[in-house]
Amino acid sequence: MEGAPLIPTLLLVAWLAPLAAFVAAAVVPSVELRRRRRVSASTAKAVAQVATGCCLLSLGLAITAMVAWFARDGSTSLAAPLVGRWFGFIEVASLSLAAEYCVDTLTVLMATVVTTVAACVHVYSLGYFDEELAEGGVQDHEATPGETPLVREGRLHRYYQHLSLFLFSMLGLVVAGNLAMTFVFWELVGVSSYLLIGYYYERDAAGTAAGKAMLVNRIADAGLLLGMIALWNATGTLAYYTPDGGGLFDGAGLLRDGSASEYLLLLWAGLGLFCGCIGKSAQAPLWSWLPDAMQGPTPVSALVHSATMVAAGVFLLGRVYPLLLPEVLVVIASVGAVTLLLGAVLALGTTDFKRVLAFSTISQLGYMVLAVGLGGWVAGLMHLVTHAAFKALLFLTAGSVMHATHTGDLAKLGGLRRTMPRTALLAGIGVLAIVGAGLPIVGIGLSGFYSKDLIFEQAIAFGRENSWAGWLSWTPTIGAVLTAFYMGRLWLLAFAGEPRSEGARAAHESPASMLAPMYALGLLAILVAWPLPLVGGSLQAALEQGDLAAHKPTPGAVWQEVTIPDHHAHHAEGIKTQAGLTAFGAMLLGLLLAAAGYRFGGLLHPIGSAAIGGFDRHTMPALNRATAWATRATGGLLAGTVDRLSIDGGLTALTRALYHGGKSLHRIETGGLRHYVVLLVLGVVILGSLAINAASQLGVAE
C-alpha cells in the first residue's frame, strides 16, 4: 500500500514547516538586531512572507493528506487509524514518551481546518499590520490613553514568529498519537496564545489578559495532567492506539468492563481530561480569560481564540471520546449547556464588537461541548469545523472594521454598509452562517445550518432516551434564539443605520490582501457543509466515517438513569423535521427580536448594556476574586494548620525531647568512680542475662 506511509509523511512535513519558519523568524532578526541595533522593515516583511509561505505549504500538504485519506483503499476497515512513531525521546520501563502520530478522519479534517484558517490569517495580517512597517515606528494610542501616544519600533517579525510557533504547536496537537504528546503541544499552544495575546505588551490590559489566560489554563491543565497520569497508571500506556491493536482505548475498554473501582478510576480520569477542555475551550467556570484575550491583535483572535486553539478542547474530547463514560458525558453536556447560555446572555448587551464575538465564541463552544456530551460526536465536531469558518470570517470582518475606524465600540459605529460594502456583505454571510440560516424542509442553508441542525437532532435523540434531561434538550433552542438576536444586533449596530462617530463616517474599504482571505472564508462559511457535487461526499459523511461514538446505547453503571444514545439514534423518525423546524423558528424569532429592537432603537439601551456590562465586568470578576480568595484562604489555613501543628510541632517536640533527654541523662555522669563501677556491673549483668536467655531459647529451638 502506497497510501499508508504517504499520509503521515505529508502531515510530518506540514507539521514541521511552521517550525522552520519559527526558527528562521527567531534567528534572522536577532542577528540583524545585534549587528544594526534594529530590525529593518524589509527583514520583517521577509519573515512575514517566509512564514506565510510555510503556512501555505502546510495548507497544501494538509489538503493533499486529506484527499489521500478519503481516497485510500476503502476495502480495509474505514475507521482504522494509521498509527506509528516518528522518533522517541524517553523510554523508562513502561513509560514511553515519543513523537507518535495517529491519523484518522478527525486528524486530517482538523489539520485542514487549522491550516486553512491559519493561511487566511497569515495573508490577512500582511495587510492588517501595515502600520507595523511604517517609517519612524508605530504609534500606540491605547498604551497611554489621553496622553501623547507611545512610539515603539515595529515588530511584525515577532508576530509572525509567534504565529508560526502557534501553527506548529497546533498541528502537533492535531497529529499527536499519544496523550503525552497531546499534553506537550496543548501547553505549547497555551504558550503561543500567551505570547500573541500579549503582543501589545505596552498596554496594561494586554499584559494582564495574557497572564490571566496563562493562569486560568494552568488550573485546568492540572486536571488534564492528573487524568493522564491516572490513565497511564491504570493501562500502562499513553498511546491512543498501538499497531498491535492495544493502546489507551483498548485498555479503557477493559477498565470499563472491570471492577467497580476500575470503573470509578476511568470516571475520574475522564473528568480530569474534561477539566483540561474546560480551560482551553473556555467553558464555565473557567471562561473568563477568553473575552480578555481579545486584547490581542484581531487576526490572532480569529485564528487562536475562536477558530482553532479554543476548539482544541472540543478536539481533545473528540479524540479521547472512547475514554469518556456516560456519567462523564452528562457532566460534559451540562457544563456545555451552562456555557452556551452564559455566553449567549453575556453577548446580548455587550457594546464592543470583538467582545460580542468572544462571548459568541464561548457560546458556540458550549454548543460543541454540549453536542459531544450528548453523544453527538459528529454533531460536535462538525460544528467545530463550520464554526471555524464563519467565526474566523466574523473576526476578520471585525478586524477590517477596526482597521478602518480605529474603534470597536458599537456605540461609535453604524452605517458602515455604505463605506465598507464588501465587509458588510461578508459580515452578513458570517452572521447568517452562525445563526444557522437555511430552509429546514428542503435542507439547504449556510454551513451553520447543517451543524446546528445536527446538534438539535442529537439533543432530541438524547431527550428521547433520557426523560429526566429535558433541560439539556431545550438549551440549544434557547441558545439559538439568543444567538440570532445578538448576532443580528451586532450586524445592525455596526453596519446599518447612520454613522455615530467621525471615525465611522471616514471609514474606507480594506485593502485586497485583507479582503481576499475574507472572501475565501466567506465561501467556506457558505459551502463547507454542502455535499460535494462530483465526489459525492460531504462534511457530515466524512465525519461519520470516523465516528467514535458507540454503536449501541450505553447506559451508565454508577448513575443508571443515564443512557447515551447510539450514533444512529438521531436519524430516527421525525427527529430531523422537528429539529429543523425548531431551529428555524428559534432563528426567526431571534432575528425578528433584533429587527424589532433596531426598529424601536432599543439595541443600545443603557439598561441592557449596564446590566450585562455590570455582570460581565463587575459580578463575574468579583465572583472569580471571591473564589480565588476563598481557595487561597482555605489552602493557607489548611497548610498553616498542618504545618504548624504536625510538621512544626513534630520537629519542635523531637528536638525538645532530645534536649531534655540528654539533659536528664547527663546526671548519671557523676564523675564518681564508684558509680561507674556499679553501672558497669549492672550493665554486664543485664546484657549477660539477656545473652544467656537468648542462647537458651536458641538451644530450646534447636
Binding site: H666, E669, T670, G671, G672, L673, R674, V677, V678, V681
Partner: protein
C-alpha cells in the same frame, strides 16, 4: 531450698561448685570496687574480680571436672595464665596511677577524682 542449691549440696564436687566460688569472688570484688573509697581497696576489688574469672576458666577447662575431657585440656589454664600476666601488668599501671593520683590530689579517696564530671 531451691532445687539448684539442693543439687549443689548433694552432688559431688563439680564445675558448678567452682562456678559458685568464682561468682562469689566476682561479686565480692565488684562490691569492693563499688563501696571502697580507698583507691588501693578498689584495686584489691579488681584483683578479686579477676581471680573469680580465673577460677571459672580453670574449672571449666579442667579435664578432671568435666566428663568429656578434651585431649590436651589446657585451654582454661592457659587463659588463666594470660589473665594473671595481665593482672600483674594492670596492677603495675594502676599502682602508678594511684601514686600519681596521690601526688596530685594528696589523698587516695577516689571520690576526689571527679574532675571529668559532665
Amino acid at each position: 531450698m531451691t532445687p539448684l542449691v539442693a543439687s549443689l549440696l548433694t552432688s559431688p564436687i563439680g564445675v558448678g561448685h567452682y562456678l559458685v566460688v568464682g561468682a562469689f569472688l566476682f561479686t565480692a570484688g565488684a562490691v569492693c570496687m563499688a563501696t571502697k573509697r580507698n583507691l588501693l581497696g578498689v584495686l584489691m576489688g579488681v584483683e578479686l574480680v579477676l581471680t573469680g574469672a580465673n577460677i571459672n576458666f580453670v574449672a571449666i577447662g579442667s579435664p578432671y571436672l568435666s566428663e568429656n575431657a578434651v585431649d590436651l585440656g589446657l585451654d582454661g589454664q592457659l587463659m588463666a595464665l594470660f589473665v594473671i600476666v595481665l593482672a600483674a601488668a594492670e596492677a603495675a599501671v594502676a599502682l602508678a596511677i594511684a601514686l600519681n593520683f596521690y601526688n596530685t590530689i594528696g589523698s587516695v579517696d577516689v571520690d576526689q577524682a571527679s574532675q571529668l564530671r559532665g
